[in-house]
Point group: C2
């Protein structure tokens, strides 16, 4: 294989490229990767050195699983040869020492900014491509599952059904409601698109509200950071989908929560630290937040003594809203495309790349 016409850097690596899979991946997807560029790539997929997955598209694997000393030695040897990784390997803090030849990591998550920061790779020339966008659809479906089952009073219906009680009642509808999106990235824009299909008015907070920007993002109105509380005060539902960056940590604080419209519905698919969890719990108790669907928490797993478990107006999802059985097929497609660019040296066509300074 020769360098692609129009490639923008060098001709790419000349030696066979060692690709190591570091998180559980179904055999069918690993086989597709291995078959994509068989002459240029040495593919290392050693399920025996990885924790067993607990479900389809489980990238963490069983947390109780440990390598034997022999397995650990084999694993270190494999990483030492790696030029490309599928996922950052778990439990390693000195990645640059262990994998000195490493040049590119393809992650299976979108929110890996903090991982890169912890590994001290913010200043390196490592290429990091992420799963940003892959989760937009499953997350959006989770958001609307939560919003619709709330406006259609499904918990009430379940209780009535258990009691064998038939009493007609009046629900409400999403149509005509206003949604505020905090973080109109790939996920937020997909949420906005579906919200408009349902006839909602969609607002978003963005760094930049230049003319035409709202239309470009597919929302009805943009608000800036200083207008955040005003935006929150006018929305019937608020969806948090920011990345975790120093700017977004604590973005929804006690005063922002106090500015919410009474009875508002909150969905958090961003990160737990984006919102003041204690203030959120108080507002769930006093009803200012009418209902919350939460996929992320300050501490994960959510501690067994968290009051959130027992609040009747909370739906807890164990950080799985982005997981769908279709996910690894999509990331594999993306990885194979990126691998083609990598092999021809077209590094800046690999996408989506993490901005290692902004952390998203």
């Amino acid at each position: 294989m020769t360098a692609a016409a129009g490639s923008t850097r060098t001709e790419g690596p000349q030696q066979p490229v060692t690709v190591v899979i570091t998180s559980p991946l179904e055999t069918e997807h690993a086989a597709r990767i291995a078959a994509a560029y068989p002459d240029r790539v040495e593919m290392v997929h050693r399920p025996d050195l990885l924790p067993p997955p607990r479900f389809i598209a489980d990238h963490g694997g069983d947390p109780a699983w440990r390598r034997t000393p022999e397995q650990e030695a084999a694993w270190q040897e494999v990483l030492g040869r790696a030029e490309v990784l599928w996922d950052f390997p778990a439990g390693i803090t000195d990645l640059q020492d262990i994998a000195p030849r490493l040049r590119w990591v393809q992650t299976t998550s979108a929110g890996v900014g903090q991982v890169v920061k912890r590994l001290g790779l913010g200043e390196s020339d490592l290429i990091v491509t992420t799963a940003s966008g892959v989760h937009a659809r499953p997350l959006t479906e989770f958001v609307f599952a939560a919003l619709l089952s709330h406006v259609k009073c499904f918990p009430h219906l379940r209780a009535e059904q258990q009691a064998h009680r038939w009493e007609r009642f009046c629900a409400t509808e999403l149509h005509g409601q206003t949604m505020a999106i905090v973080g109109p990235g790939r996920i937020g824009r997909e949420v906005a698109r579906i919200a408009r299909c349902f006839g909602m008015t969609v607002w978003a907070m963005a760094r930049d509200n230049a003319p035409g920007r709202a239309e470009q993002l597919g929302v009805d109105r943009l608000w800036t950071r200083p207008e955040l509380r005003e935006m929150l005060g006018g929305a019937d539902c608020v969806v948090l989908c920011t990345p975790h960056t120093p700017e977004t940590e604590g973005l929804i604080g006690r005063e922002e929560i106090a500015s919410l419209k009474p009875g508002v519905v909150l969905v958090n698919i961003a990160r737990g630290v984006v919102i003041d969890e204690d203030a959120m719990i108080e507002s769930l108790r006093d009803g200012r937040i009418g209902f919350a669907a939460l996929d992320v928490f300050r501490t994960e797993p959510l501690p067994p003594d968290s009051p959130l478990w027992d609040l009747p107006n909370v739906l807890i999802c164990p950080h799985s809203a982005s997981t769908a059985d279709t996910e690894n097929a999509k990331i594999t497609d993306r990885f194979i495309t990126n691998l083609g660019h990598y092999l021809t040296g077209a590094y800046d066509q690999m996408e989506p790349q993490l901005d290692k300074r902004r952390l998203y």
Copy 2:
């Protein structure tokens, strides 16, 4: 007020038109009707002669309520003067005798074909305008609340939450699934529109599959009545939204149910008699139907001893999926527009009119 230019019949009624409200209606909406054409209309809204509503947009009212003999006499006198009715009055079988001046009924439901048949009005020249279309949005939101909370495993999440258990898991997604719609009327077409927003493939069964018809209805493929079983066998979810007519009674029989794809999701927002309820229950028990969200039943209220109440893969809604707190405002808007046409004799501009032979 004079006849509108271009009106298609006579100049309309010359005497003040007596409009009688026969089902519970919020005062604000009744006041809007009364204020619309105050010189031409005598508006009779007597909440004291109607059963008290149990919830917003309750058109039935408290079933235990009864008129006193004095109230009943007053009610008969009012109906005797009526030229226009807001809803068919409940509990009356000889409407033509009781309301001999009646020329037009605006209903608050879409499915009134059987009522018209029972009242023997199929051959009369009574104008019947319905609420067809008003319920499309609330019903569509109910359909997607059911589909999304199922693919996102909300019952599983609720059980995990009750147990304070945090175990990551893998859901699936609507995106890429195939939906089959039986009855692509106003409601079915709105369901189809949203399904396509979610990236589903949408099929429908229609009487007519002339070229261009699928595109016109907003679906990917049309199937005819003889192809019904084949269509059902290929769908991941089936949504029933036909009217109740002789043609649709028992349309989904035992053999149609046997042709469903194992694990299919079924939503019935049509009428209970459209499907063989006994065969449906068997298929819910053996898992051929993976999940059913049912708003309508063979007998309503659903009898306390129906096995449907206790099936874990059934969601029961007490024929309320079409009800939204925004509903009477919309029907009032439509009624006022129709009243304007009626007063100018533009009868064929009144819509949507029930086809009293086809019963929808």
